[in-house]
Symmetry: C2
Subunit: 308 residues, 2 copies
């Protein structure tokens, strides 16, 4: 069994953690959004890769879904005291990773090489690959001007209205080594319940990835929208700002030309005919992952659905 999952941050991390518990070493490859990556305090920070790695390593903070459990905040305390930029909270355990990754990249390693080192050090049995080794920052054109993703997401708390989304430099980027071959040899491809606009679209826009996904079936997506809302993050708001009513149907339609199957929450069952009319097979279940057990159950259901 070979599964490729396309993932963003917290929602994606929870779902791939469920898959990871069900498959053997090396059977799961997670291709991770790097559009949220940014340079801060001289460090290269990769929020989605880190959330995925911490979660798969069992090191994630269960309260927040991101960051490390047992974290301390002493470096930030000093930065605040010195009047430095403290709008992006970096825990001490977490900082060690940013420092070491930045050092390795400075020394000439690629992001995918460093990510592999991190996975090995954390004894992660799955493959975690950034979508690209190139820097492809997601820029948001808003009513307050152009914002980087973290400025929009953390500093401005997703409040500005989005007028456009731009993945800077993506037309010149290449998928990271291993991305295309993993997709080509996969038995199934899953779009995690991540933000379509700023988590999955960046991955699918890296030249070569969408085409590789298109030839490979089955492709299954899990809706990050439940009852018209997101569990976390601005996906529903982004649909609205694109003039689209946020719903599981809207997610299915967003990805329709790639999907064989679509998994969404049973509270949205009434949308079933509409989604099926897109030519997509459907499966409904409880998609909210509140416990570790929810993750495994949902992953198991998705794998079974894909196998049908």
């Amino acid at each position: 069994m070979s599964i490729v999952a396309l993932a963003g941050g917290v929602g994606g991390a929870k779902f791939v953690d469920g898959i990871s518990k069900l498959v053997g070493s090396g059977e799961l490859t997670v291709i991770v959004n790097t559009g949220d990556d940014f340079n801060h305090l001289g460090l290269k920070i990769c929020p989605d890769i880190d959330t995925i790695c911490y979660t798969l390593a069992g090191l994630a903070n269960p309260e927040t879904g991101w960051g490390r459990c047992g974290e301390t905040w002493n470096a930030m305390e000093t930065i605040s005291r010195l009047g430095g930029p403290d709008w992006f909270q970096l825990g001490d355990l977490d900082l060690g990773l940013h420092l070491e990754r930045s050092r390795c990249i400075q020394q000439g390693l690629t992001l995918s090489q460093v990510t592999l080192q991190i996975c090995q050090a954390f004894a992660i049995k799955d493959r975690v690959i950034p979508m690209s080794d190139a820097e492809i920052p997601t820029l948001l054109l808003t009513d307050e001007g152009e914002l980087s993703f973290q400025e929009y997401f953390v500093k401005r708390n997703c409040e500005p209205k989005i007028l456009g989304i731009h993945f800077r430099g993506i037309e010149y980027a290449k998928p990271a080594p291993g991305v295309i071959s993993a997709i080509q040899t996969a038995d199934m491809i899953v779009f995690c319940p991540s933000n379509p606009w700023v988590s999955l679209d960046p991955i699918l826009t890296v030249p070569g990835i969408r085409n590789a996904v298109m030839v490979k079936k089955p492709v299954i997506a899990i809706s990050p929208i439940i009852g018209g809302r997101t569990v976390k993050g601005p996906a529903a708001k982004m649909f609205e700002e694109h003039g689209i009513k946020p719903s599981a149907f809207a997610v299915a339609e967003h990805f329709k030309e790639m999907l064989a199957g679509f998994v969404y929450d049973e509270v949205d069952k009434k949308l079933d005919n509409k989604i099926k009319e897109l030519g997509i097979k459907t499966f409904t279940t409880n998609t909210l992952m509140e416990t570790q057990m929810d993750r495994v159950r949902l992953a198991d259901e998705v794998i079974n659905f894909a196998s049908e």
Copy 2:
């Protein structure tokens, strides 16, 4: 009263802390060695400035004399786990300062400007000025090859034999703004009980500083060598490797053309005639600063001695 102190790390920090307790705001200016500064994990680290600032701010770790009290080591734990360089221990509270200083320098601030900001944020009432805003790394030519100061001091635990000491680029460096004017307007200048070879010599070798010190009297030095040994660090070993018997006398002789007075430990009283023969007035007392009270008492004695 205007006092200028030339200082290195722990010994210098303890002594200037004593002076600081005795004088008013802005009356003490500490000119600090930056030869030990280095870049590590992409951060600019200034061990002596930090030891001085933490001590004057009452934030220093009383056990070690360097680093912060109440420190945690979580970032280093991650770096170790990832196989990164963990030979130079950086606490989390401390890391915050290195991150913010590096960020400010990246943005174009000078080291002396950032040091001023740190002093203000830490409510330090004294002036702390790096000897220069230029990078002047102390390089040690040893029997194991050329080592940077921290490689020699921390990584190699001062074990290699020193064949030569080089302050790279010092001939092109300028004193930081305020250094020369502070010396010129001082009522007294103190050479702290710091390593003559790698703490005080770098400061005195920055073009302009030695000449400014020479015209200004009184200049008082405090011996870092007590009973032929140092309290901390490789000063005694460095005298030996220069073919000089380590002693308070050796320290007095090292600085003789600049000194009006010399303070050394009463255990070395037998050296008094020899030191006086150098044309230097002497004062002996207990120079070991074990308690906070020792620092203030010694500082008081040195100030009184200088006033005579």
